[in-house]
Symmetry: C2
Amino acid sequence: MAAKGGGAQGKGPQWQAGSVPSLQQADSEPALSIERIVATAVELLDAEGVDGLKMRRLADRLGAGAMSLYWHVDNKEEVFDLALDSVLEYRGPPQGIEAADWRGAIFHMLEDWRASMLGHPWSASLLPRRALGPNILSRLELLGRILSGAGVAEADLNGAIWSLWNYVIGATITRANFDLSDDDMAAAQQRLAHLSEKYPTIERARLLLDNDWDGAFRKGLDFLLDGLVPRQ
Amino acid sequence: MAAKGGGAQGKGPQWQAGSVPSLQQADSEPALSIERIVATAVELLDAEGVDGLKMRRLADRLGAGAMSLYWHVDNKEEVFDLALDSVLEYRGPPQGIEAADWRGAIFHMLEDWRASMLGHPWSASLLPRRALGPNILSRLELLGRILSGAGVAEADLNGAIWSLWNYVIGATITRANFDLSDDDMAAAQQRLAHLSEKYPTIERARLLLDNDWDGAFRKGLDFLLDGLVPRQ
DNA sequence: GATTGACTCGTACAACGTACGATGCGATTT
DNA sequence: AAATCGCATCGTACGTTGTACGAGTCAATC
C-alpha cells in the first residue's frame, strides 16, 4: 500500500499550525514538517525569487530527498500558497487602542501589510494567482471590524473593505515590481528613448524615476479614508 | 553563419507595429510575423490561461515549427510581454471632450483599462511581473495630462498618477482572481468552514459572496478623485 | 512476532524551453 | 548565369523540471 494520498489528503493547503514534533532521525536534521518546509521555502524565495524555488533545491536545503516533500504537500502550488500566507501574518497594532484611533489602526495594519510584502517581493507577484489564506482573511476581518466601528454603514462595508484592499494590493505590486528592477526601468527608458517625446507628461513628472512611494501610498490612503469615512 | 541574434536582435521586446507584409509561402499559411504570433498567443491565453501557453502549442496553432518562433522572439517571456501590452491598447474616449469633462475622461479610461484586463484574465496575473509597454505608458501619459489639466499641482502629479494606477491594478487583479475561481471561493469557504466563526465580520458582510464589484470600483475611484482634485 | 500506518526516497518519465546547425529561398552582386 | 548573402524555417537533441510509482524504514500497536 503506497502512501499515496495519505499525508496530504484532500485538495488545497492545510492551514494548520499545531502538529506533533515526533522527530525520528535524531542524528542531524530535525525531521521534515510543514512548518520547516514553508520556512525554508520562504528563505529560498527570498534568496532566489519565484523562479528559484524548485522542489529539488528545496529538498536539498532541508537535507531530504525531493520526493519526501510530497508526503507533506500535494504539489508545488501548495508550497507557494503556504509560503505566501505565512508571510502575511499580522501581529496587531503596537499599543494604540483601535477603537479610539481607528484611523491609526487602519494605517498601521495596511502599512504593515505593504511592508510585509515588500520585504518578500516575490509575494507580490504570487498574490494574483493564489487563494485566500487565513492570514489574509484575518486582515480583512480586522479591517472590516475597524471600519464598522468607525461608522461605516453595513451596506457600504463590502465596498469599503475591497477599496482599501485593492489600493494596498495595487500599490504593493507596483512598488515591488519596480523595486525589483531599477535597471529594468533604466532599460525601459532606453528602449523607449526614441519614443520619449510621446510621453512628455511622464517625462516632466519624472514618473519613472524619482518617486516618494511611501508618501504617495500614505496620501492616497488618506484620500480613500476621507471618502469612506468623512471627517466630521 | 547561423541566424542567431539576427531577427530578434537586442534585449527586450520590440514595441513595433509597422512591418513589411512580404508573404513568401503563398500556398496556405500567411507567413510568420510578430503580429500573428502575438495575436495567436492572446487567443491561446484566453482559451487556456497562463499555463496553457507553450511554445510548441503556439507554433502548432500558427502552422509552424516550434523553433521558428525564436526568429521573431527572443524567448517565451517576450511573448508574454507583447501579449500583455497588446491587450492594453486604449482607443480613447468616445466623444466627450476631455478638457471639459476631465472626470468623465478619467473614468472612461480607467474603466476601460479594467474591462480590458478582465476580458483577458491572464493579463492580471501577468502584470506584476512584466515591464511597462508602450500602451501602458500611453495610458499613464494620458492620465497625467488630464490630471494636470484638471488642476493637480505639478508636485502632486506623480503621487496622483500612481494612486490611480495602484487602485486600478489592485481592483482588477482582485476581481480577476476571484472571477477565475468562483468554485475556488466556495472551496475556500468550505476549507475554512470550521474557522468561520473567526471571521464574523467577513461573514456578516458576505464579503466573499455577493459583491457589486463594478459599483465598489466606481465608488472607490470617486473617493480617490475627490481627494486628488477636491470638488470646488 | 506480525501488522499497521506514518514517513522517506531512488528511479523513472513526460513535458517543457531552447541551443545548435542544416536547409530553403529571394534578392543582390559578380 | 553563377555565386553570394541575408532572412526565415525547422528537425533534432539536451538539460531541467514536476511528480507518479513503488520499495524501503521505523515506531507503535495488537
